[in-house]
Amino acid sequence: MKISVWVFVVHLVSGFALRIIAAELEQGQHTERISGSAGDVLEDDPVGRLKVFVYELPSKYNKKILQRDPRCLTHMFAAEIFMHRFLLSSPVRTLNPEEADWFYTPVYTTCDLTPNGLPLPFKSPRMMRSAIKLISSNWPYWNRTEGADHFFVVPHDFGACFHYLEEKAIERGILPLLQRATLVQTFGQRNHVCLNEGSITIPPYAPPQKMQAHLIPPETPRSIFVYFRGLFYDVGNDPEGGYYARGARAAVWENFKDNPLFDISTEHPTTYYEDMQRAVFCLCPLGWAPWSPRLVEGVIFGCIPVIIADDIVLPFADAIPWEEIGVFVAEKDVPNLDTILTSIPPEVILRKQRLLANPSMKQAMLFPQPAQPGDAFHQILNGLARKLPHDNSIYLKPGEKLLNWTAGPVGDLKLW
């Protein structure tokens, strides 16, 4: 009897000791667990926590558009197409709309491309409006909540403001019909018209296979201090500078063009991905919009992102503690960028690299085909699951109308 008690006590103590030892050991490993403001949620499994109903829209809203231009599958706005495909075959999909928590409308608004490959947003408001008209007339679920339990993927420059110029986007504001819906978008900036409270920010699409194909051995020593490739002046659209990137990129160039620590240039080398893996810091300044695929590339290649975009909201901000992973530099502090970066203590830098090395962090930034656990699709579903259960106030009383169907510029009201 006494012996068994002692054995039990010994097991308990050893269990505690092992847990402490394991925690200490983890410090010496090369990754670290990531937990954001919502907790340690990167590895949550959304299956079983929510149900999504996918509306069946006629193919002129999705398939036909894609057939007209297959470049939509590889550009940085491809998330809307891949999200649709993922949901069609995902276990969270339900065919019974009565039990669904969320409703998804597959309309590809960012697939009208110029010959250069840039999406034109001029027809997108009309397309979206037409899709919403369709779902509100064919199914009762839109009118039930006026879209409060619906979500849309709008990966364009300024999200659902549907314009590439910031002033015009602000003027238009978010499409009035989408005011109550949850928007899944790449654009995120605090106190901005085009970011609704409760939107889910996602990373831009970056082709996973292309990035995996350029991996180099991790023991290759990181010898570049700061790395950046891209435009500093957009000569075609803003020749004097000052408009593009709010002058921040031009400031980087003018201040650091002869600094040996800064490997910055406009030339795009074939070894772009390999060079990022040999760099300690990668600059991710804003361009015409605050977000950029450089953040995704930096995370995948273990290069600490230096984010120069005031008030930006980064992807999955509640699941990923970006302040601990990246370095944030205010646009007005750009002339002192070298002082800021060299004054970061080495332990902090090593910790950031450990966080970046966490495979769940890298996985959360990618949209792989087929989907893998922990990837960006699952993070979106986790984000949607965290917003459940819906508050009862979203359900409208019969006859109550909150949305103004005639609001917005006259051009938007035309049929698509």
Partner: protein, 516 residues
């Protein structure tokens, strides 16, 4: 509205170049017809003229800010109220002319006062200034800090992704004092100084320990065990190879006695080791083999041998490699050894001969051992290895480390199964009796002066008829002048001063004849 019209003009410019086609917003259509737009057009022309006169782009936004009374309705697009002057706006910046383009007046449209509604951010859309600090050049102390950061990051990378269990290397080198010793040993010292692992270097010297070798080793800063081997190094290559094998065994006995732990490798002083070799041998478990490139050069520079070499080159494969041979599944099946048949009768017998120096069938340098194989008793010493004492008495020698093994199939082929050559074997020596200054310090100055072939002095001075007395006085002055002239002719171009030197020569030779 003036504001949208102004914006339209700006945006028209941008969007026309940015996006090729696309119908613009409908509000653009009415812009060109209203008188407000006409006014702005005239203003635009006026500004262009002013810019031409002034020499920089005079932005219309200045006019806009000075004369406009409108404020926008949206929260964030805040325009400066009329009372703000340009000076006021410009003072918040430190700007500098970019060298390529003329300096525009970059305006900062930030305004903290006009916060219209509850939560307005300070991020404003519009033209911003390009901030450049007064001295936009790197600060040296920051560069140093950055380099230290990079070093720390690389050290961490090595810790995490590099070799996990770093074992000490035990390097065994036989050497002896000779002309080429400093050359070979310096190269080896530098290679070993670069090795990032702990190192014990056992240097066995034939003929006993000497000060020359000890000085070289002391300068290296490595942990060395310098032991002497009583016999002197013989002159014939065959004997030298055998002696070296005995010296290596002697060193292995040291390993055994002191129970040194690590990986034993045999680095001959004239071989060349690449850094990847040291990384690769860390992965050996018991006994491993690497491929060696054999640089068996012939010391001949005669033309007759060149012809015969050409014939040989056509027959020969590229540089012969000694090392493990693997089958397609990566298992050891045999050995590539040195084929000495083409060199029969043409190889060097004695050290310093001008003929090809041949290696043995399998060189010691191509093998690495776990030091536990040498110990008397070790925990997991495998059964297929023989004990050192039972194998070799004091005077015997072993062909190669393969003699240690009862079963040679346990050798691990390293360097992607022998495909990667990380080590080169070379023997370059001077004649055994060649003299060289001790410690390579010339003290006292050399006694033998060898006549140089190309100096201004001719070998045989020509005769010169001259007056003795006058020449005596002239001699001294001429001597000095001649000396300087000659020295100048050496530094300057010979063609120019040939005339002068010839005069000097004749004068000097005149002196010689006088002295004689």
């Amino acid at each position: 509205m003036k504001l949208p019209a102004l914006q339209q003009n700006c945006n028209n410019r941008r969007s026309n170049s940015f996006r090729a086609t696309g119908p613009l917003d409908s509000s653009a259509d009415g812009a060109f017809k209203s008188p407000a737009a006409l006014f702005w057009l005239v203003l635009h022309g006026l500004c262009c003229l002013i810019s031409l006169v002034l020499g920089f782009r005079f932005s219309r936004l200045i006019f806009f800010l000075l004369f406009s009374t409108t404020t926008t309705t949206t929260n964030l697009y805040t325009a400066a109220p009329i009372l703000r002057t340009t000076a006021d706006i410009a003072e918040t910046l430190t700007f500098q002319t970019p060298p390529s383009s003329p300096s525009p007046l970059n305006l900062d449209t930030q305004s903290n006062q006009t916060s219209l509604s509850n939560s307005s951010s300070h991020v404003v859309v519009g033209r911003h200034g390009i901030r450049i600090r007064p001295w936009p050049h790197p600060n040296p102390s920051e560069v140093m800090t950055a380099h230290r950061i990079i070093e720390r990051v690389q050290k961490e990378q090595r810790l995490q992704y590099g070799i996990k269990n770093r074992k000490t290397l035990i390097v065994i080198t036989p050497t002896y004092v000779r002309t080429f010793q400093t050359l070979h040993l310096t190269g080896l010292i530098h290679s070993l100084m670069l090795v990032p692992y702990d190192l014990v270097w056992i240097v066995v010297e034939a003929g006993g320990t000497s000060n020359e070798t000890a000085d070289l080793l002391a300068k290296s800063g490595l942990r060395t065990i310098h032991i002497g081997f009583d016999n002197r190094m013989p002159i014939a290559w065959e004997d030298r190879h055998r002696m070296e094998a005995r010296m290596r065994l002697h060193a292995l006995r040291i390993v055994r006695e002191q129970r040194l732990d690590g990986i034993v490798m045999f680095a001959d002083d004239s071989n060349m080791h690449s850094m990847e070799l040291f990384d690769e041998i860390q992965s050996v478990k018991w006994i491993g083999a690497v491929s060696i490139g054999i640089l068996a050069h012939s010391g001949n520079s005669d033309e007759s041998s060149l012809l015969s070499q050409k014939v040989e080159d056509e027959e020969n494969l590229p540089v012969p490699i000694q090392g493990p041979a693997c089958n397609s599944s990566g298992q050891l099946v045999g050995w590539h050894t040195f084929n000495s048949l083409p060199y029969v009768g043409k190889s060097a017998t004695n050290i310093g001969d001008r003929a090809t120096v041949l290696p043995r069938k399998l060189e010691w340098a191509g093998f690495v051992l776990n030091s536990k194989l040498i110990w008397k008793e070790a925990e997991d010493k495998p059964e297929w290895v023989q004990d050192l004492d039972t194998l070799a008495g004091d005077g015997d020698e072993l062909e190669s480390p393969l003699a240690f093994l009862k079963d040679t199939s346990f050798v691990e082929p390293l360097g992607s199964c022998g495909r990667k050559v990380m080590l080169w074997w070379l023997r370059v020596e001077a004649r055994a009796d060649s003299k060289f200054p001790l410690g390579w310090i010339i003290d006292p100055p050399l006694e033998i002066t060898v006549p140089a072939k190309r100096t201004p002095w001719p070998d045989a001075p020509p005769e010169l008829p001259s007056n003795e007395k006058t020449n005596d006085i002239q001699e001294h002055t001429e001597q000095r002048r001649a000396k300087t002239r000659v020295s100048r002719s050496r530094h300057g171009s010979r063609s120019k001063r040939k005339h002068e030197s010839k005069i000097a020569d004749s004068q000097l030779s005149g002196r010689h004849t006088e002295e004689k």
